[in-house]
């Protein structure tokens, strides 16, 4: 299974590089002309999921650390905004900026405890913290609204229309994904890959593994916090269900489904997951077997995910073309 990210293929100076980023955003911008609000809502969820998924992928795909608690980070960001808005502790735009920062702080604390351990221990510990977020959201009824959550939050007037939230999501997610991509392609990103490929050797080339994973975790938390903020703007509410422990697995699944070995994987995975989930739960009660079956099937046969599968096909295609010459 090739773990090489698409980095070596195209250059930033190449026009194709910029087209790959700007074209989808351009397409996304004209979609509201053709789609109704319900579909825009679905796409907003895709975008948010892609953002959180890509931030998770920094840890999972690049550094090889499974984090089973990103729903907790996401929800922390969401509730920060929600609480600030609900109790009028801060004006709208300030609240939106504070939330990702607060989530980063939270990530520092959680990460500091978790990076001391390895592999599954790390995953479980992150899960433990995520579960605590869920419990606090669910049980601290007086402050967080309990199982009802916090609803009817006062968002800025501009964002009361679904279309504006859509554009906000497109541009925020677009920019954030670009930043995440850049981080993945930086020397830091290379160091993370080294950690994934050979934990022991990475220490012997001077990488303080714990510190690098912690940093990756904080960055990941920051972007998950942005995702949570977007969700609250979209739904005008925050619910404990955002941190339900199954949600953690959904984020991991999205990375795996799309392909953890390519950056675009989590975005592709989000498309497939959100859209099939929406359609499945709407039209059939058989969704658990489809979801479960898909997960089992992918982990057994398609560990490279959709992008991995496509890349293999593309490589085969190129090789056949070479042979024919």
């Amino acid at each position: 299974m090739r773990s090489e990210m698409d980095s070596h293929r195209i250059d930033a100076k190449d026009l194709r590089f910029w087209l790959r980023w700007l074209l989808p955003i351009a397409v996304a911008c004209i979609l509201p002309l053709f789609l109704n609000h319900s579909w825009l809502s679905v796409l907003i969820e895709v975008g948010i999921m892609a953002l959180v998924g890509s931030s998770l992928n920094l840890l999972f795909g690049y550094a090889g650390m499974v984090s089973f608690g990103h729903a907790g980070l996401f929800t922390f960001g969401a509730y920060t905004v929600a609480i600030l808005l609900h109790y009028n502790y801060a004006p709208f735009y300030i609240a939106c900026i504070l939330a990702p920062l607060a989530t980063s702080l939270f990530s520092i604390i959680v990460g500091w405890f978790c990076v001391k351990r390895v592999e599954v221990y790390f995953a479980l510990l992150v899960l433990a913290f995520a579960q605590i977020v869920y419990m606090v959201a669910y049980f601290w009824v007086d402050f967080t609204g309990g199982s009802e959550g916090l609803t009817m939050l006062p968002v800025a007037h501009f964002f009361e229309s679904p279309t504006s939230v859509y554009y906000l999501t497109v541009w925020t997610v677009g920019i954030c994904l670009f930043v995440l991509y850049a981080i993945g392609e930086s020397p830091f990103g290379y160091a993370l890959r080294a950690i994934r490929e050979n934990r022991e050797r990475s220490e012997f080339i001077g990488i303080n593994r714990k510190r690098y994973i912690l940093l990756a975790f904080i960055i990941s938390g920051f972007f998950s916090g942005i995702g949570g903020t977007l969700m609250v703007i979209h739904e005008r509410a925050a619910f404990p269900g955002y941190a339900h422990f199954m949600k953690n697995a959904e984020f991991l699944l999205v990375c795996l489904l799309g392909g953890m070995n390519s950056f675009i994987g989590s975005t592709v995975g989000s498309f497939f997951y959100v859209i099939s989930d929406t359609m499945l739960t709407r039209y059939t009660e058989h969704w658990p077997i489809i979801l479960g079956g898909t997960i089992v099937f992918i982990t057994l046969f398609f560990r490279g995910g959709i992008m991995g599968f496509l890349e293999k096909r593309y490589d085969l295609f190129k090789r056949r073309r070479e042979e024919l010459k």
């Binding site: 479980l124 510990l125 899960l127 699944l253 058989h286 658990p288 979801l291 479960g292 982990t299």
Partner: protein, 292 residues
């Protein structure tokens, strides 16, 4: 708050702990030996409960149906585990653990679906035999007989597992596998089959737990989630791979549950997690786990 009341609560706590122990013991055993964290463990617990229900339903009149139900639950759970391990998990051993992790997560949904198809979404219940129901008088306090039964049974099972692991040859092989799988295979033992057996045994325990819990809990899709979370807490608090740790942790959690329910009924569910958090901070390896 009378003495009787406290003793009653204590007993309720211990019996809850006993149930949690059975499920968590399987999980920690599997994790310790196979290094696999089976997220579907709660689902297997649930299967056990449903099997016990089915047996009770169809063999209601027959003497001893309760025990047959429990045994069948363990057997079916064990077989299910065996099939799962052999066909789904074994191919992934050589890879990073997160694939197995995710695969078992997928199995959760598959089991949930199967349960829903076969037994529907309504909740069911079963009752234990008459002589196990009601209360018995111990030293002036009236304790629920079934709870006493659970506590005694769990201690017996714990002792059995402990003896098996530490005193038998197969137990020695399993302990060796926990430490160094490669070396054991060079010694000529059939490692894959042994691992499968351990997995099956762990699942059988979970199924057993589900069946034993059935008379005092409701049987409905969704009990897998609670069982899984409880098991996780026990495994973290008790220490990965330690059966004795799992016992201690289960008792601790049973106690925390019982007494926090008295003191803060609304927030009671949080306290096991607070315990887990404290352990994570103060002693990350768990009570009796190996240093990480």
């Amino acid at each position: 708050m009378s003495f009787d009341f406290i003793v009653l609560q204590l007993f309720s706590a211990l019996s809850q702990g006993a149930l949690i122990f059975l499920v968590a013991a399987g999980l920690t055993l599997i994790f310790g030996t196979l290094k696999v964290l089976n997220l579907a463990h709660g689902s297997i617990y649930m299967i056990g409960a449903y099997i016990a229900y089915t047996v009770a339903n169809y063999m209601g009149g027959i003497i001893g149906h309760f025990y047959i139900g429990i045994i069948m639950a363990a057997v079916v759970a064990g077989l299910f585990g065996g099939v799962m391990e052999a066909f789904l998990i074994r191919p992934l051993y050589k890879l990073d653990m997160h694939f197995v992790f995710l695969l078992t997560f997928g199995v959760i949904f598959i089991v949930l679906y199967l349960v829903y198809i076969v037994w529907g979404a309504l909740w069911h219940s079963i009752t234990a035999p008459d002589y196990l129901m009601g209360a018995m008088n111990i030293g002036g306090v009236f304790l629920p007989k079934y709870n006493v039964f659970l506590i005694i049974l769990s201690f017996i099972i714990f002792a059995a597992i402990h003896l098996f692991i530490n005193k038998t040859k197969l137990g020695l092989i399993i302990r060796a596998l926990t430490a160094d799988r490669e070396t054991v295979s060079t010694l000529g033992y059939n490692v894959p089959m042994t691992l499968t057996y351990v997995f099956m045994f762990g699942c059988a325990l979970a199924g057993l737990g589900g069946a034993l819990a059935a008379p005092i809990r409701v049987i409905v899709p969704g009990i897998d989630e609670l069982a899984l979370l409880d098991s996780f807490i026990v495994v973290i608090v008790g220490g990965f791979g330690s059966i004795t740790g799992a016992l201690l942790a289960s008792i601790a959690i049973g106690l925390v549950n019982a007494f926090s329910f008295l003191a803060f009924p609304k927030l009671a569910a949080v306290f096991p997690f607070i315990l887990m958090l404290i352990i994570l901070v103060v002693r990350p390896r768990g009570l009796l786990g190996k240093p990480i």
